[in-house]
Structures are given as C-alpha cells and as structure tokens.
C-alpha cells in the first residue's frame, strides 16, 4: 500500500481512538487527503468554549513536506489571518519534521491559541491590537469566539444572522469612539475600517488626534 495513504489512514484512526486529546478529524469528501479537523478552544483563554475548525490538505510528498492547514472558523489571533484563516506557525513551514502527525500538529495549533506570538504576526492589525491593549484584544477575541466559534457567552452561537452582529465589537473598537466620528457625518463601516487600521484602541487612541482620523476618513 502507498506509504502516504497508510500513514494518513493510521493517523485518522489514531485520532478517532483517542478521545482524551479532544481532537477530531473527519473526511471532507471521499479523499483521505482533504480533511477537516476541529478542536475546542483551550481553557483560560479568550477562545475557551469555542469550537475551531481547521482545513487540512495532505500534500503529495507528505509526510516529508508539511501538511497545509488553515482555520475555517474565523478567529481573532495575531498569528492567524482574520480574513483568510492562514496560520503562521513554524512547524507548518521550515520546522516541519516527518515525525510530526496531524494530531501533534493540531495540538500545536491549540497551544498557539494559548500563547500568541505578536512579534511574528500573520495579521499585523490584530498583533498591534494585542500589543496596545491585551485586555481589549481579549475582549474582541472572546467576542469573535462567541459569534464565530459558538462560544459560551452567546446564546445564538453560529446561527446569529450577520446583521445582528456588532461590527464595532468585531473590529475591537470602542462604541463611543465610533459613534463620535459617525456623528461627524461619516458612514459607520468607513469609521470602523479607518479606526481599525489606525489601531484606535486603548491608550493608543489618545495618541491619534482627530485630524488624522478625519484625514483618513476623507480619503476615497
């Protein structure tokens, strides 16, 4: 049997048999080389209570080349792109070793959620937010967990319609700040976009004067 197939089959079986790690891997289609993994957000983090889905693609030269993984669930984390779910993790790139498995890689992802590395960010805006105010960052991350990953605070979970979501909170901004600039006659989503880009949060907000914000808002 093809060594790659044998290995992947065994890895999938291992995950099925092992209930303690809480890592689940399932097939997406008929091919064992495109999988969907999921794991619960680690305890004591803003991701606690959420359930995170990961897209897994096994390349032709697996296990000698790393698996391709990205988050399917939107997640607010410095090392994960908030738009695409792309992950910045060394073992998925040059630090990959053929000894690593799908399970151990998923566990590494889980631990990445516990200890973000904002100095080597995938999403620079999120990383800035993390560096500026960890408290505010965690609030936003928790909110994302609630609305996207079915976190505990949210009764509605993943079924929440898009319109009912609080865009201001998703962007990790202060509602007061947004409404202040909205009051100057700018569209709400434009204000959110600009303030997010300027990292208008926590102590950083006082460093950015209103003129600068308005200037950005006036740009087409």
């Amino acid at each position: 049997m093809d060594a790659r197939l044998r290995r992947v089959n065994k890895e999938i079986a291992d995950c099925k048999n092992d209930r303690t790690s809480q890592i689940r891997i399932e097939l997406v289609g008929d091919s064992p080389f495109h999988l969907k993994g999921s794991f619960p957000g680690p305890e004591g983090t803003p991701y606690e209570g959420g359930d995170f889905d990961v897209d897994i693609v096994i390349p032709e030269s697996y296990p000698f080349q790393p698996v391709k993984m990205k988050f399917l669930t939107k997640i607010y984390h410095p090392n994960v792109s908030s738009a695409s779910g792309a992950i910045c993790l060394d073992i998925l790139k040059d630090a990959w070793s053929p000894v690593l498995t799908l399970k151990s890689t998923m566990i590494s992802l889980q631990s990445l959620l516990c200890s973000p590395e904002p100095n080597d960010p995938q999403d620079a805006e999120v990383a800035k937010h993390y560096m500026t105010s960890k408290h505010s960052f965690e609030e936003t991350a928790r909110y994302w967990t609630e609305i996207y990953a079915g976190g505990p605070g949210s009764k509605i979970g993943k079924t929440l319609p898009a319109g009912a979501r609080d865009d201001v909170a998703i962007a990790g901004l202060d509602a007061q700040h947004v409404s202040r600039f909205e009051g100057l006659g700018f569209a709400k989503n434009k204000v959110i976009d600009v303030l997010r880009r300027l990292n208008y949060r926590g102590p950083n907000a006082s460093k950015i004067n209103d003129e600068r914000v308005v200037e950005e808002l006036l740009k087409p």
Binding site: A3, F64, P98
Partner: protein, 643 residues
C-alpha cells in the same frame, strides 16, 4: 593584473600628428595574421597575448570543481584530523572558508561540531574508549541493520562506529552512551513515519539514534534535496539538529542503494546526482573566484581570480565563457574557452555560453564596466516609458520647473506649486496677456520666447537621455533579430553551395560575418550607455579635437570621440550597417566571388574597429581615464559640471 601589459607609455603619444594618417601601425600585426585571399576560412587570430579588454579565466567542469572540493576536504582532514565526511560538513557550515574553520576549530572544536550538526549538543559523558577507525573509507561507517535484529544488535559494541573522528588529539570528544528505546528485544520495529512494521524493513539512524526505515529516509532525503535544494539535511526527528553526512546519504540514495518501493530507485538516482550538484553549487557560490555558468542545463564553472574582488570591476569588464555552446540537450563542449570561433553548430544551438563574471545584467556589456551597465539598465527600465510620456504630454512651469500635465480647462495655467500664472500656449506670464484670454497671439513676444527657452533647457537632459536610449535600443533590437539573421544566412550558405562551386568550408565567411556583426552591435550598444554617463571632461577632448581637425561632429558621441581619439578613419557603426546590408541582400550566383571578397574585407574591417574601440576603452578604465557625470559605485565623485 595589468603588469604584463605596457600601456602606460603610449598614452602620451595619442595626440601625435604622425598617427592620424590612418595607417594604424599599432595594429598591423593583426594583418599579418589574417589571410584575406585564397580559400582559407577567416579566423580571428588566437593571439598568444591577451588583449587588454579580455580577462584571464579558466573553465571548470563539475568534476574539476569536485576535485577542488576534495582538496579542501583533504586539507581539513589533515589539519583538524577529522574524518572526510565530517570535514565536508564543517566546510559547508563554514561556507568553505578554510582559514576561519581551522581557527574556530582550534578555538573550540565541540561548539563548531555541534553548530555544523556533526555531533549532538550535550553528549552524555560516558568515556568508553573505542578503537578509532583507521580506514577513511567512511561509506561503511553508517551501518544498516536488519529490522528484526535492530533493537537487539544495538547493544553490541561493534555494531556502531559512530564517531569517525580519528585524531588522537581529540580525546575530549566522547561517544555517547547508547540508550535502547526498548528493553524488550522482541518488540517489533515500527517506523514512526510510515508505520510500516514489516520484518524485512531496513532501518537507519544517525548518531542521535532516531531510527526510521530506509524507504522513509530515501523519500525524505529526495524531497529535501530535490524540492528544497538543501545540502545540509537534518535528521527527520523533530528538533534534532544532526546533519546527514555524505556517506549516510550515499548509503540511502547513492548508486548502490536499493529500494523496495517501485520507482524509488530512479528517484534516488536523480536525487543523488542533484545532491552532487548542490555541493558543487554551494562551493562555487561560497567562492568569490568562481561563478556558475548561468546558461540553462550547463554545469560548468568559470574561475576568474582577477574579477573576484568587487573593486576590480571598476577597471575591467570580466566577460567570460564556460566553453560550452548551445542550450539543454543540444549543448556541446568546445575546447577553446576564450572567445574561439570553433565548435559545433550555430544559431541558438551554437551560441557560446558567454557571461559577465561581475554582474548579471547582460552577457557581454563591453566596453562599459558593470556598475555603469547596471545603472543604465535600471534607468532604462525606470525611465524610458515615463520619459517618453513626459516629453509628449507635459510642459514645465516656467517659474519653478515643475512638470505639469494639462488635462483640461483653459490655457490660463496656475502652477500648483509656485502659484505662477502663465499661458499654456506661449508659456509666457499670464499677466502680460491682458484681455486676450483663451486665444494667445503672443507666441513671438519676448517673455514667451524666454520662457520657452528655459523650458527647452530643462528638457535638454530628457532629450539627451532619449538620444542615447533610442540608439542603444536600436542595437538591442537588432541583436534580438540576429537569430533570424542566423537562420536566413544559414539558408543562403546552403544555396551558395548549390549554385556555385564553393564548398562548405568556403561559405563559412557568411557565418563569420554574422557573428562579427552581432559582436559589434553589442559593443556599439553599450558605448551609448557609456557615452550617456561620461563626464563632460572626457568629451572636452572631443571638442578640442573637433576644432583641431575641423571635422563636423554631432555632440556627445562616444563613437566619434573614440574614432578621433584613435585616429580610426572610418566609423564602426557605418561599417556594421554596411555589412548587415550585404548579408541581408539577395545573392546572385554570378556575384558570389565579389560578394565574398566584400563581405570578407568588411568583416575583417569591423572586427578590427571593434577591437580598437574595446582596447581603448579597456585601457581607459585601467588608466582611470574615464570620468562619469554621476556617482558610480567604486569611482571617485564626479566634478560638478552643468549639463
């Protein structure tokens, strides 16, 4: 490197009147070596003496470089007393800098061995003295073991010859004690990567004892070597920093390696040869005196010590050739490495592997030196289209010289920068227009003429650039079409052999001429780039000469300048165009002897002109005669000259 050429004393003779009679006594030795008549093929004389525009270089095949590598390994082996495979790893780690390696090794061998991935970071101290291997045949060093016996035989003292360090002075390097992964010898080995547990499995490990099956090792090495071009492949275990030594790699994917996987043996062979090439490439890349031939599929290396130092690139243009011709499968090796005209076919397949040792901008950018050629190409890339657009679509404010595009509205312009108000039509100040708005009839008034003069002065630099650029680009375009010309000429040569009594060897004059035309076009092309950057001081000579000989000269032309400077009575450029025309023209069977004579003469003529241009510019660089109008890397700052 110029010591063997005595150019310094004829510098003063350049302006001697007796040399302007066009006889060019200096170059008459070329004529003696040329055979104009008869049935001889025209050949560039291979003079024993190198010309001043040529550099000394040597072409090395892959195996020749491998020999150099072996010498270095041997050296480290003898100095540091480490096994060859370790010496190789150390050299690769130190980027083949032998002196630094030895220094570091003498300073702290352990840290160097660890950094190079030869030994594990913290060897557990277990000073079991083992007999040092006496043989250097290290290929047998990594033992392969049958899987069924794998875990049991580990305990045996003779099964591992781990440390290949042979020097008796290195007693501080101690082998690590072996820790079996399982104490139960009946435990079956399961490869942690492919989960194969077949009893026939061959297993391998480095000194770190991370054991995997040979198929996984082979697939891993092949993937690292072929997909990632990695020459220092680390152990497969996570976080393990041991590097696979060459004998290990040979055992796994070398010619004698066998595989149970279908198709793997072929993959192995490819990976093994790629690994050899990677080592050579790494060696060449680490050595400033060496450069890999950039032509696709070519594995030759050129050694050019005189161009190794970057500062030498201000005095020489190291155009070299690896000696091979053609691309890919059609490649042939020719013996003459230095610009010879022999060898193989021609056209694309016969194209000589010529390249510049000092830069990547272009294969042959003589006579201009690398930094200037690079600067010119960058400028062309950045500026040409923009400059053309600016020229045709904008004007400059007559007050502050800001470039302005008029994209609508009336002719009453207000400069956004300096608030100067002017008329777009006559460029004169708006205040003088009075009530004659929107229909300027003041085009000839003084203020308007003055303003336009100022504008044309500021446009002059743009014009100047475009002047050189267009001429440069013309030759570039012609050179690109040379492949067509090759094909056409080849056809003509065949026709000639049919319609006349000439033999194959006798029609080679056409081929020779085409090659010469291409070569001259290259030179001409780059003289325009050079002329653009030459400081006015150089051209002053030109203007003085101009007056002395009362010749009509277009300004800023290096070609003309060189001609005058060297008393070359005719123009290389014109001769090249004439020759091109002869080659492109129709061939009547009855005219062939005449044509042949004409083409042959013209070929020799342009060849000599070309050499003179190259010689003079090369000498100029060695003497530091050329000054630039811009800051050029490695040259003195230019004097302030108004352009």
């Amino acid at each position: 490197m110029s010591s063997d050429y005595d150019y310094s004393d004829d510098d003063g003779d350049y302006y001697d009147e007796d040399m302007i009679d066009g006889t060019q006594d200096d170059y008459s030795d070329d004529d003696n070596m040329m055979d104009f008549g008869g049935d001889e093929d025209i050949k560039v004389p291979q003079k024993g003496k190198r010309k001043s525009y040529e550099v000394d270089y040597e072409s090395l095949s892959q195996s020749a470089v491998e020999k150099l590598i072996a010498e270095d390994v041997e050296y480290i082996y003898s100095v540091c007393g480490v096994d060859e495979s370790i010496a190789s790893l150390l050299l690769r780690h130190s980027k083949w800098n032998k002196e630094r390696l030895v220094e570091k090794y003498m300073d702290n061998p352990t840290s160097l061995l660890v950094a190079a991935g030869v030994t594990l970071p913290e060897p557990t101290s277990s000073p079991t003295q083992r007999s040092a291997p006496t043989s250097n045949n290290s290929s047998s060093r990594r033992t392969t073991r049958g899987a069924s016996r794998l875990l049991t035989t580990f305990g045996g003292s003779g099964s591992k010859t781990k440390s290949p360090i042979t020097s008796p002075t290195l007693t501080h390097y101690t082998p690590r004690s072996f820790k079996p992964k399982s104490s139960d010898p009946s435990d079956k080995f399961v490869c942690p990567i492919c989960f194969d547990d077949a009893p026939s499995l061959r297993t391998l490990s480095l000194d770190c004892e991370h054991t995997f099956c040979s198929n996984c090792w082979a697939a891993y090495l092949a993937s690292k070597i072929r997909d990632e071009s990695e020459h220092a492949v680390k152990c497969m275990a996570e976080g393990c920093s041991l590097v696979c030594p060459d004998p290990f790699i040979r055992t796994v994917i070398g010619p004698s390696a066998t595989s149970t996987e279908p198709g793997q043996e072929q993959e192995n062979a490819k990976a093994w040869s790629h690994f050899q090439e990677l080592l050579v490439r790494h060696y060449v890349a680490s050595n400033k005196r060496l450069k890999f031939c950039p032509y696709p599929g070519c594995t030759n290396t050129v050694s050019c010590p005189s161009a190794a130092d970057k500062s030498s690139l201000t005095t020489i243009v190291p155009t070299v050739s690896c000696g091979a011709r053609g691309i890919g499968d059609q490649m042939t090796q020719s013996q003459s490495a230095s610009g010879g005209s022999g060898g193989g076919g021609w056209g694309l397949a016969g194209k000589e592997h010529r390249f510049c040792f000092g830069c990547h901008v272009e294969a042959d950018h003589r006579p201009v030196v690398c930094p200037v050629a690079r600067m010119w190409l960058k400028k062309c890339r950045d500026d040409s289209e923009t400059a053309n657009w600016i020229k045709s679509n904008t004007k400059e404010c007559s007050h502050c010289q800001s470039t302005i595009e008029k994209n609508g509205g009336c002719n009453h312009m207000t400069c956004k920068k300096c608030k100067h108000e002017f008329c777009w039509v006559c460029m004169g100040p708006w205040s003088e227009h009075g009530t004659a708005w929107y229909s300027c009839n003041r085009y000839d008034e003084k203020a308007g003429v003055d303003a336009r003069d100022a504008q044309s002065r500021s446009r002059a630099s743009l014009e100047r650039y475009l002047h050189y650029y267009n001429r440069w680009a013309n030759h570039e375009q012609s050179a690109k079409l040379s492949l067509d010309l090759y094909a056409k000429t080849e056809k003509k040569m065949e026709d000639m052999q049919i319609t006349s009594s000439l033999t194959w060897i006798e029609v080679q004059f056409m081929k020779k001429a085409v090659e010469e035309v291409e070569r001259c076009r290259m030179t001409l092309k780059w003289t325009y780039a050079m002329a653009y950057y030459l400081a006015k001081g150089n051209e002053k000579d030109l203007f003085e000469d101009n007056q002395r000989y009362a010749l009509l000269l277009p300004s800023h032309s290096l070609i003309i300048h060189l001609r005058l400077h060297l008393r070359i009575p005719s123009d290389l450029e014109k001769a090249v165009e004439d020759l091109s025309e002869l080659l492109e023209g129709p061939i009547e069977p009855e005219n062939i002897p005449g044509l042949r004579q004409k083409v042959t003469d013209k070929t020799v003529y342009v060849q000599k002109r070309n050499e003179i241009v190259l010689e003079d510019t090369a000498k100029g660089f060695m003497e530091g005669r050329w000054k630039w109008n811009v800051v050029v890397e490695g040259f003195d700052e230019p004097e302030k000259v108004e352009y």
